[in-house]
């Protein structure tokens, strides 16, 4: 009685399982554990994790921080040079306030991300290697501090990848990374 549209008779639980199916079950368990183990271990030993401290903050309070940071930063032709390791960015329809910013390779920066209005997407890649790209969600009401250390100099482009309104497609900023 092995029709999927008829009730199975008798003690179907104790029916033997084909040997090849049993082997496959073993492979499946093994693969599942590898998937979990690798992902979990990478949060401890890996260099790429979407992990950072998060704080709740009002958009206006974050704007004050951003303004204070801009006052302390040095303006250059390529963009703002941050006064220390903290870099503040605020997404707003339809720009990245705080960008362009000039950073150095080999220094760990704390990138502070927040949105002034609606949800945005922080999508970053170097100009000359589009396949090296990362994407983080940016939410109003939250300040996310994600550390980053760039190892290659170049111009990195930020585009918004969460629909934020009619001008969404024009929302672009840059991070210029110079040899440190």
């Amino acid at each position: 009685m092995t029709s999927p549209i008829k009730p199975p008779d008798g003690n179907w639980w104790d029916q033997p399982v084909n040997r090849r199916e049993s082997i496959w079950l073993g492979l499946g368990v093994g693969w599942s554990l590898i998937l979990f183990g690798w992902m979990s271990a990478w949060t401890r030993v890996g260099d790429q994790n979407p992990i950072g401290e998060t704080f709740r903050i009002d958009a206006e309070d974050y704007r004050e921080k951003l303004t204070d940071y801009k006052d302390r930063a040095t303006e250059t032709d390529d963009g703002l040079v941050p006064p220390d390791r903290d870099v503040y960015l605020q997404a707003m329809r339809f720009q990245w306030d705080g960008a362009p910013v000039v950073l150095e390779t080999g220094t760990e920066y704390d990138i502070h991300l927040n949105s002034f209005d609606v949800q945005h997407g922080f999508s970053l890649r170097p100009e000359d290697a589009l396949s090296k790209q990362i994407n983080l969600q940016v939410l109003p009401g939250y300040e996310w501090v994600v550390p980053m250390t760039f190892d290659e100099p170049g111009t990195y482009h930020i585009i918004c990848n969460e629909f934020c309104g009619q001008g969404h497609r024009s929302m672009h900023g840059t991070i210029v990374v110079e040899e440190g």
Partner: protein
């Protein structure tokens, strides 16, 4: 007797005095009420498919920027129409039909409380119309909702109202199914449910979880939009929204797998190689699959690392393991079942001898293969905490869910509709040849379009949900124009896939309107070799037959899985250092 409104005679099968008929293909006792309501929900689903499919054309031809069909304002409206009609209305109307198949039809019962089914249908239709109206009449300062309507972007309150009405209608329409299960278990407390009914029951529970999550997301947001309350929290909304946003896709998945077991059995003679193993897999889904909603929050600031690891892995990959079980059990069921029927010489004789010209069979098989290789594997990739950073909100994500929901669920549901046309509407296909070709044509074209979506997303970082980014980003010299060649391939194959979708609607609707009526014995060609009675011989257990062909195929699948995994991780490790 046909209803006075039924001018096409679509609801006029002949029944015995007790209201039942015996299906010549499945051998099931089908009551008039089941026939009629499965048809009603199925037809409504096809209307949504046709309507949403029109927007597939406009959306794809905008994303292919060489054509650049729509202005941004229109694009987002069209994209929202495409999403809601295909991802929600086409799927959910079909799923109610599948509950009625998996419940009362497989159990040989009548559909109880049909007035509730009718009311549920009417409320669902009302909700669907309201959502479509709200999207289509979007006016500034409101924005088109897309699928997600993330707060605090202003979206028409009518949209949230429509979504809530649709959710409530769906719950009402599911009640006759729950009543069926209640009556069945009360009358036969010792009897085990057939596997397909069991799967439908699991689907329904997952569905209710998802729908309740939807109310948590949409009701407070509606109040906020009506200015009854002032509070919103973007992170909270995302978490609540994805209970339904991802949960509905899990309904699609589990309903699709129920359809796989059903159709492979009926048209190819597949049998259940282990009730214990397959049912355990459904139980794993029941407990773990809805945790997958976390896949949308992996690159979010507001949820902890531990929460993300636990949920994204469905608790140590419990639901992935369940899918791996079905990945073996279903082809093994076909292989062993066909070997039993003398149709399985060599390693793959069971496959080569299968009824490939029957669109019910070919649709189901393509659904299984393409869902697994393209949809399932990529789902696990982007569901890894770190890899998600390279997938999140890129066009590759869109590729992933077109692999699951189109190549997987839609293709399987198309197969089911081909089946329903022959066995419930009792119509011959208007063209056997076109019906046979459709699954091959559609799956192949869509498969390539989907691959291109994934490549441009992963290799070039092309974002989703934008009208313009490859050729030009307004205000900067920078663009993603390196992705243009792959987009050309995408555009051409998207057009071909849409042609395949049109072909489906033409064959389906054409057969219903103009197809010859199926008379006694005409459906004999649909029946699996050797008939379905063979599955009930207790002295000829199916688990004793060879499953080596399936084993080889599954090893190939696992190898593809591992290679894709390594490639994705290789790309990730090329990045600069990110995160604490």
């Amino acid at each position: 007797m046909a209803h006075a409104l039924d001018v096409l005679g679509l609801f006029d099968n002949e029944y015995r005095d007790d209201g039942f008929r015996t299906c010549s293909v499945t051998g099931l006792e089908v009551h008039r009420s089941v026939d009629n309501y499965v048809k009603l929900f199925g037809l409504t689903a096809v209307v949504a498919l046709l309507f949403g499919g029109i927007f597939a054309f406009t959306v794809a031809m905008t994303r292919w920027e060489v054509v650049g069909l729509l202005e941004p304002a229109d694009f987002y409206t069209h994209l929202s129409m495409h999403a809601w009609n295909l991802l929600i209305f086409w799927m959910v109307f079909m799923e109610i039909a599948i509950l009625y198949v998996g419940g009362p039809m497989v159990l040989g019962r009548r559909l109880p409380i049909t007035t509730v089914a009718k009311a549920g249908w009417a409320v669902m239709v009302g909700g669907a119309v309201l959502v479509n109206y709200a999207i289509w009449t979007t006016e500034p300062p409101n924005e088109a909702p897309l699928l997600t309507a993330y707060v605090p972007m202003p979206v028409s309150p009518l949209f949230y109202a429509g979504a809530i009405v649709f959710i409530l209608g769906t719950v009402v329409a599911a009640l006759p199914f729950f009543a069926t299960m209640w009556y069945e278990k009360r009358e036969n407390p010792k009897k085990t449910l057939p596997l397909v009914s069991f799967a439908a029951f699991v689907t329904s529970i997952i569905a209710v979880e998802a729908l309740v999550g939807g109310l948590f997301a949409f009701v407070p947001t509606l109040f906020w939009r009506l200015e009854l309350i002032e509070w919103w929290d973007a992170a909270w909304y995302r978490q609540m929204y994805w209970i339904i946003g991802h949960g509905t896709q899990q309904i699609n998945l589990v309903a699709m797998i129920a359809v796989w077991y059903f159709l492979t059995h009926v048209v190819a003679g597949a049998e259940v190689v282990s009730e214990k193993v397959s049912r355990t897999a459904f139980i794993l889904y029941l407990f773990f699959i809805n945790l997958g909603a976390a896949h949308h929050l992996l690159s979010d600031p507001a949820v902890s690392t531990g929460w993300r690891l636990w949920n994204t892995s469905y608790a140590f990959y419990g639901a992935t393991f369940a899918s791996l079980i079905h990945a073996f059990a279903i082809p093994a069921g076909i292989e062993a079942g066909r070997r039993k029927r003398g149709k399985g010489g060599g390693l793959f004789g069971w496959l080569t001898s299968a009824p490939w010209s029957n669109p019910v069979f070919s649709s189901t098989i393509f659904s299984i293969i393409l869902f697994g290789f393209l949809g399932g594997i990529t789902g696990v990739m982007m569901g890894q905490l770190q890899l998600n950073m390279t997938w999140h909100n890129t066009f590759a994500t869109v590729g992933h869910f077109h692999a699951t929901v189109v190549l997987g669920t839609t293709v399987a549901f198309m197969g089911l509709i081909f089946f329903v046309i022959r066995t419930m509407f009792m119509r011959q296909y208007i063209s056997e040849r076109l019906a046979s070709i459709q699954p091959f044509f559609y799956s192949a074209a869509m498969g390539i379009a989907v691959l291109m979506m994934m490549y441009v997303g992963i290799l070039y970082g092309v974002p989703r949900r934008t009208a313009e980014v490859v050729e030009n980003i307004p205000g900067t010299e920078f663009s993603l124009s390196a992705a243009a060649p792959l987009f050309a391939i995408f555009g051409i194959f998207a057009l071909l896939a849409i042609a395949g979708g049109v072909l489906f609607v033409l064959v389906a609707v054409g057969s219903l309107v103009f197809g010859d009526r199926v008379e006694n014995g005409d459906n004999a060609d649909l029946v699996a070799d050797g008939g379905l009675g063979m599955a009930q011989d207790p002295d000829d257990p199916v688990h004793a037959y060879e499953m080596r062909g399936t084993f080889v195929l599954c090893l190939v699948f696992l190898a593809a899985f591992a290679i894709t995994y390594l490639l994705n991780w290789y790309l990730l490790t090329q990045l600069w250092s990110i995160g604490a």
